[in-house]
């Protein structure tokens, strides 16, 4: 990794960790959602550094663009969450801290004990959006069309559930 790329990596990592911490520690849940967007956006930057262009674009489109909007809508539609009347802090702070500590420690131990990292022998193709597009249209044509059926099922399911809730 050359110097400017590594500098960008450290800045992005810093933003990701700080914003992720803000997501779980801020009092107002709406502000938490905004920091979640910053966190997800920075993760897209990390994908770019790994040359995963398509993954970065998908991250920005789906997570930053759509999922976060869904979350903000859910917060604004829930009367009790949007108002400041109820406590939005986690009451099980100590337990949560302990669980996270154990999880983090076990991950670190696992990383430290892994001496042989498996890499793919093939490098990532330079224009990976183009390669993905070509494979989607030729070798993976059937899965691609099945995806649209899956999305259709998700949409109809959402409509049926939403209608049941409102009526």
């Amino acid at each position: 990794m050359d110097a400017p790329v590594s500098l960008v990596f450290w800045i992005l990592s810093f933003i990701i960790i700080v914003s992720a911490f803000m997501v779980v520690s801020l009092k107002n849940i709406f502000h938490c959602a905004l920091f979640l967007i910053l966190c997800l956006f920075s993760v897209a930057g990390i994908y770019l550094l790994l040359n995963a262009e398509f993954l970065a674009a998908a991250q920005v489109l789906i997570y930053v663009g759509a999922v976060s909007i869904l979350m903000i809508f859910a917060i604004m539609l829930t009367s009790q969450l949007a108002s400041k009347r109820i406590s939005q802090t986690n009451e099980n702070k100590l337990v949560a801290f302990f669980v996270c500590l154990m999880f983090g420690l076990s991950t670190l131990v696992l990383i430290a004990n892994t001496h042989v990292w498996r890499y793919s022998a093939q490098a990532l193709p330079e224009a990976n959006v183009l390669t993905i597009g070509k494979y989607l249209m030729t070798d993976f044509m059937l899965p691609f069309e099945v995806v649209s059926v899956l999305l259709l099922a998700a949409m109809i399911g959402a409509i049926v559930l939403a209608r049941k809730e409102t009526s």
Binding site: I62, M155, I159, T166
Partner: protein, 122 residues
């Protein structure tokens, strides 16, 4: 070699830095030159210069949510359109037919939503 891939995104980085910098600079400049006369009427919510009614944290109409859900589905569709558009020049008519089928299947979902009346604003 690594920097070669990242180079086209340098312009995006510059845009982000200038975008954030401009906002910070404007706030800093405003703080420098504005007069400071705080009084209670200044701190209330702005509602077209009228006195605001109620809190600004109101509950929005749940009907918004179904629009958000349908938006997510079509957003995922857009993600698939993106590599298709890039590769289209090398694929031709066959790819066009595949994408038309893909969009038609999803379009039925929109038709269903329309038929069920969830897109109607009451």
């Amino acid at each position: 070699m690594k920097g070669f891939y990242v180079a086209p995104y340098l312009s995006i980085l510059i845009f982000i830095v200038i975008g954030i910098g401009l906002v910070l600079f404007t706030f800093f400049l405003a703080r420098l030159i504005r007069p400071s006369h705080p009084y209670p009427a200044k701190t209330i919510n702005y509602e077209c210069a009228e006195l605001p009614i109620g809190d600004s944290w109101i509950q929005f109409n749940p009907r918004f949510y179904i629009f958000a859900l349908i938006f997510v589905i079509f957003d995922v569709e857009a993600v698939f359109l993106f590599p298709w558009a890039v590769a289209f020049g090398q694929l031709g008519l066959y790819a066009l037919i595949e994408m038309v089928i893909f969009i038609l299947i999803l379009f039925y979902g929109l038709y269903y939503a329309w038929k069920q009346g969830v897109l109607k604003w009451v």
